[in-house]
């Protein structure tokens, strides 16, 4: 006898409105309005951390001073992605291939992960490459991490 399997298809679609919190709000507003990156410095270990948050990740004490960071940095790692991951902002699959990278902005301890605007060719991208943040035009920025379009290589000296 053939056994019939019963599956109930369901999309669990739960809407959220996530509060950025005061530290991330300031980071996102500076990026949107002034095109600037800010990290926050631990008064004990001196690490300048991104994203800014209430306590130091290592010392667990309240973070202190806000530090403006350069929009330029160094590529610490990358991946050319062939997997059509769902873009959470649209629900649609990403066009492949695209490149994700880990960037250490000059003056920061932490790195930021974002898209890297390079030809998806393993010969054209390398760890240690210098990159610069490319932001959306001021009028198109909405105050979230997509105000950064991507990081682009700086002509190598």
């Amino acid at each position: 006898m053939e056994i019939e399997f019963v599956n109930i298809p369901m999309v669990v679609d739960v809407p959220y409105r996530f509060a950025a919190g005061s530290y991330m709000a300031r980071f996102l507003i500076e990026l949107r309005d002034n095109g600037k990156f800010f990290g926050i410095q631990c008064p004990s270990c001196g690490r300048v951390q991104m994203p800014p948050r209430i306590v130091c990740a290592a010392c667990h004490i309240k973070n202190g001073e806000w530090i403006e960071l350069s929009p330029t940095g160094t590529l610490m790692g990358f991946s050319i992605v062939h997997l059509p991951l769902t873009d959470p902002t649209t629900g649609l699959p990403h066009k492949t291939p695209y490149t994700y990278g880990i960037v250490r902005l000059d003056g920061a301890y932490s790195t930021i992960e974002h898209f890297i605007d390079v030809e998806p060719d393993i010969q054209k991208v390398r760890v240690g490459m210098r990159v610069r943040a490319i932001l959306r035009p001021r009028e198109e920025r909405t105050g979230d991490l997509n105000d950064i379009l991507h990081f682009a290589p700086i002509g190598e000296a």
Binding site: N7, A20, T86, N146
Partner: protein
């Protein structure tokens, strides 16, 4: 009060890409029924604590243990759920028994990856305000870690492919695995790129399944079996959540968890003292990185010792003789299955995948992207008092 704890029973369902015939409760009970039969125990009479491991978003239900509280004996009794890798269930079960509160604990981990989409589920592990909206998931985060680790330590793609070759070949011997096969290095290196440098065979495949264990105090353990796997040491440690706070070539959380577990177990030269390792190769390169974090070789050496065959079934230090996660083990079940396979080896119950004379085995599990949380369990054939050695380091 007891200060020795043992694993006295181990059962696994068959892992499969899709089990459309069972819901999670039925899947869980396949493992629970087996482990009760094996040990001759009854839930109502013998089990005084239950710990389950599953994940709300994977199961599509908040409080994902709802579907299994009846089969695990949680009705009108205590049941603790952990939304972490299953290895941590063994950690908490040990602590519960050492406290003197419980004598006999039933552990269960279940996940049906086939019921949803791993990339969307794992995207929700990222901070909603920060990098989640960029679409990251565990595979792309792992690709960044692989690139970083390989670039810092000069690990080659061929060395990583040897992990796939070994583990899929080992999995062929293991009747519970579904991804076992014999491949050539060329075939592995020619698999389609998913997220460079990771190719299709570098990822643990989607799997459905469950694992159940019973852990007991010394007195109860000796009544249940003549061949328990004794807990010699446990360690657990978190790294930073944000990828940007870590150098992904490092695995400091694992180094610390291993140090805690080794100290309890009286292990000061793991390479010499450990006979076998079952670790969380969710992605192939992680086997190399975790071997280094477990102190079983120097940083950057894991690729070489793997290429030399040291970690093969016939090698000096077999690693994942069961086939590992690449052989096909569900998320969340992953680490509890590492403990299960290591315990079977120590108990001499590993059947087709048994390695001779395993006195001491190490199981490692991790949760979160790029191994944020790490748990290490050391198992052995001879019991060891845990309270005497469990003092904090000075």
């Amino acid at each position: 009060m007891t200060d020795r704890v043992a694993i006295v029973g181990v059962a696994q369902t068959r892992f499969s890409p899709k089990r459309a015939d069972v819901n999670v409760g039925e899947l869980a009970y396949e493992a629970i029924e087996q482990v009760l039969q094996q040990t001759g125990l009854e839930i109502g009479r013998d089990i005084d604590n239950s710990i389950s491991c599953s994940h709300d978003i994977w199961d599509g239900q908040t409080i994902s243990d709802i579907g299994i509280t009846d089969v695990i004996g949680g009705h009108l009794r205590n049941e603790e759920k952990m939304a972490m890798d299953g290895s941590t269930a063994a950690y908490y079960a040990t602590i519960g028994i050492l406290s003197g509160e419980f004598d006999c604990t039933l552990l269960l981990a279940h996940t049906k990856m086939s019921q949803t989409d791993r990339n969307i589920v794992n995207n929700t592990a990222f901070d909603p305000i920060y990098t989640r909206m960029l679409g990251f998931d565990f595979t792309t985060a792992a690709a960044l870690q692989a690139r970083r680790y390989m670039s810092v330590y000069g690990i080659t793609e061929e060395q990583v492919a040897r992990v796939v070759l070994k583990n899929l070949s080992n999995a062929r011997l293991n009747p519970v695995m579904h991804n076992g096969r014999d491949l050539s290095l060329d075939e592995i290196l020619a698999a389609p790129l998913i997220a460079d440098p990771l190719r299709a065979l570098d990822l643990a495949p989607d799997s459905d399944g469950a694992v159940a264990l019973i852990m007991a105090s010394e007195e109860r353990a000796k009544q249940i079996t003549d061949h328990p796997a004794w807990i010699l040491g446990i360690g657990s440690c978190y790294d930073a959540h944000y990828l940007g706070d870590r150098d992904l070539a490092d695995c400091m959380a694992l180094e610390k968890a291993a140090a805690m577990a080794y100290r309890m177990a009286g292990i000061n030269d793991p390479r010499r003292q450990v006979d076998l390792v079952e670790l969380g190769d969710e992605f192939s390169y992680q086997e190399l990185l975790w071997l280094e974090g477990l102190g079983l070789c120097k940083r950057g050496e894991a690729g070489c010792i793997t290429a030399e065959g040291l970690t093969a079934r016939s090698g000096e230090l077999p690693v994942n003789p069961s086939g590992g996660l690449l052989g096909g083990v569900p998320a969340n079940v992953a680490g509890l299955n590492r403990v299960a396979e290591a315990a079977n080896q120590v108990m001499g119950r590993a059947g087709e995948v048994q390695i001779k004379d395993v006195e001491i085995a190490v199981a490692q599990g991790h949760s979160g992207f790029c191994g944020q949380h790490q748990c290490v369990i050391v198992l052995g054939r001879e019991p060891r008092s845990l309270s005497a050695s469990a003092g904090r380091s000075r």
